[in-house]
Amino acid sequence: MFGIPIQALFGQLLLGLINGAFYAMLSLGLAVIFGLLGIANFTHGALYMMGAFCAWFLLNLFGIGYWPSLILAPIIVGLFGILLERVFLRWIRNIDHLYGLMLTLGLAQIIEGVFRDQYGSSGKPYAIPAELTGGYNLGFMFLPTYRAWVIVLSMIVCFGTWFLIERTKLGAYLRAATENPVLVQAFGINVPRLVTLTYGFGVALAALAGVMAAPIYQVSPLMGTNILIVVIAVVVIGGMGSILGSIITGFSLGLIEGLTKVFWPEASSTVIFVIMAIVLLVKPSGLFGRAS
């Protein structure tokens, strides 16, 4: 097709889908946090990086492998997120959102600075778990098992999160508190605690993405900064605060990026931002956003 070997096309589509899986998981957490806290959480990339580092520490310091890390790292980093919310974010809840943006940006710089200072900026390898090495020859392409796993797991996690928010009682509290926290609290719900847990949950999602990313990209202090900029663009395109929007936009933009790499490699790193600019001009509230 267009003189492009089919292997290369599907290879790039797969890479795009993998990137999209991470965009989706990260922008999902950002959307949930933005919805309830009104904060564009610029610490998200640093927390994703901490998830990957946490898995790396668990392995290299305690000999705890990938599978337990998949559970432990999100819990540990999620608790760290809860601490951040309690100590910092809570106090700026009722002032201009710009302060939240600046504060989370500052926190990200501090966290990344500490990691860079301790571990340098070179990446550390993290081995693919034995169960997920190898791959399948699909005839038209080779599909590494680990990448297939990442795509499947991220889709399950995204669907699970969507279900939790849109179809359960807890999700109804979250949606209602996003609209009118004062009234929800006046019904007897402890909204400050809901806010803390929501932030912790969004952070745990970022950390989980970090663990999943560790064997694919390398574990490095800057891995979060690089991806966060793209993820912010994804959130803007999908519509701030839209759950389904972030999932669909995340996967789609990964794919679009992959396709661009095939047909116009030089544009692949900018295509998402071009789309963002167009969406902002045509539909400022985002593709899935509610205009408000």
């Binding site: 009682k169 109804a172 509290y173 949606r175 209602a176 996003t178 609209e179 009118n180 004062v182 009234l183 929800v184 609290q185 006046a186 019904f187 007897g188 719900i189 402890n190 909204v191």
Partner: protein, 240 residues
């Protein structure tokens, strides 16, 4: 000035309640009492401070001072979720139906605070419209249906005291009648109700007692029995 001190079994006792929106001092020493099982109405002109009083009782004012005692316990320093758990439920003037929740989710949102509330079946029996439209988005209901939903959702919780802020505002006469019938039913069921109402004729048929509010304080108390005799006085207070 009478503050209804004759009530022996006070469920809600508000004393010298002061309230602020930011810098502006809106409640200037509200004092009144609502007895167990009573239906008490706050009357007053626009901007008198009726809504603010309910917000003050519910604990959702920026700043409040004074005393709000409910079933003997002081609530002035409690956050609103604790006040709700104590057994007070709030139906706001703007109704507060959630757009991102469907009708049933709106109905089921307030947690049960104590046993003895109405069951969903009982509620759907009273409000068949809500049962029919349970899967619709909350804000797709008509104004009257939204008002019914706003009242219905606080009946499940087992709260003993209902704060109803202008439940008839902007509704067609036939729906006002339905809501009037509903409120009498609630009273018969033993709910204690603090009602804010502009529609004096509506309130007249329901309430045991009226407090007239002006500039953030109670300026007069009228018992239902004295209503007829107080007509001219009331017309002057309310400017009608």
């Amino acid at each position: 000035m009478a503050d209804g001190g004759s009530v022996t079994n006070a469920l809600l006792q508000v004393d010298d309640l002061n309230g602020w929106y930011g810098e502006s001092h809106v409640l200037h020493g509200m004092s009144f009492v609502v007895g167990e099982g009573e239906l008490v109405t706050l009357l007053g002109r626009n901007g008198a401070g009726k809504t603010t009083t309910l917000r003050g009782v519910m604990g959702i004012l920026g700043q409040r001072r004074g005393s709000v005692r409910f079933a003997g316990a002081e609530l002035i320093d409690q956050p609103s979720n604790v006040i709700a758990k104590a057994g007070i439920a709030y139906c706001p003037e703007e109704r507060g139906i959630f757009a991102s929740l469907n009708v049933e989710e709106n109905l089921m949102l307030p947690p049960i605070v104590r046993p003895g509330g109405m069951t969903v079946e009982e509620i759907y029996a009273i409000f068949p419209n809500l049962a029919e439209r349970r899967r619709s988005q909350g804000t797709r209901l008509s104004g009257g249906e939204q008002q019914m939903l706003a009242i219905a959702r606080i009946l499940r919780t087992g709260a003993r005291l209902l704060l109803l802020d202008e439940p008839t505002e902007g509704l067609a006469p036939v729906i006002v009648q339905q809501i009037g019938a509903l409120i009498s039913t609630l009273k018969e069921k033993g709910f204690t109700i603090l009602l804010v109402e502009q529609n004096f004729h509506f309130a007249a048929t329901l309430a045991d007692r009226f407090y007239v509010v002006e500039h953030g304080r109670v300026i007069d108390t009228i018992a239902a029995a004295d209503l007829a005799a107080s007509g001219p006085k009331l017309r002057e207070y309310l400017g009608v």
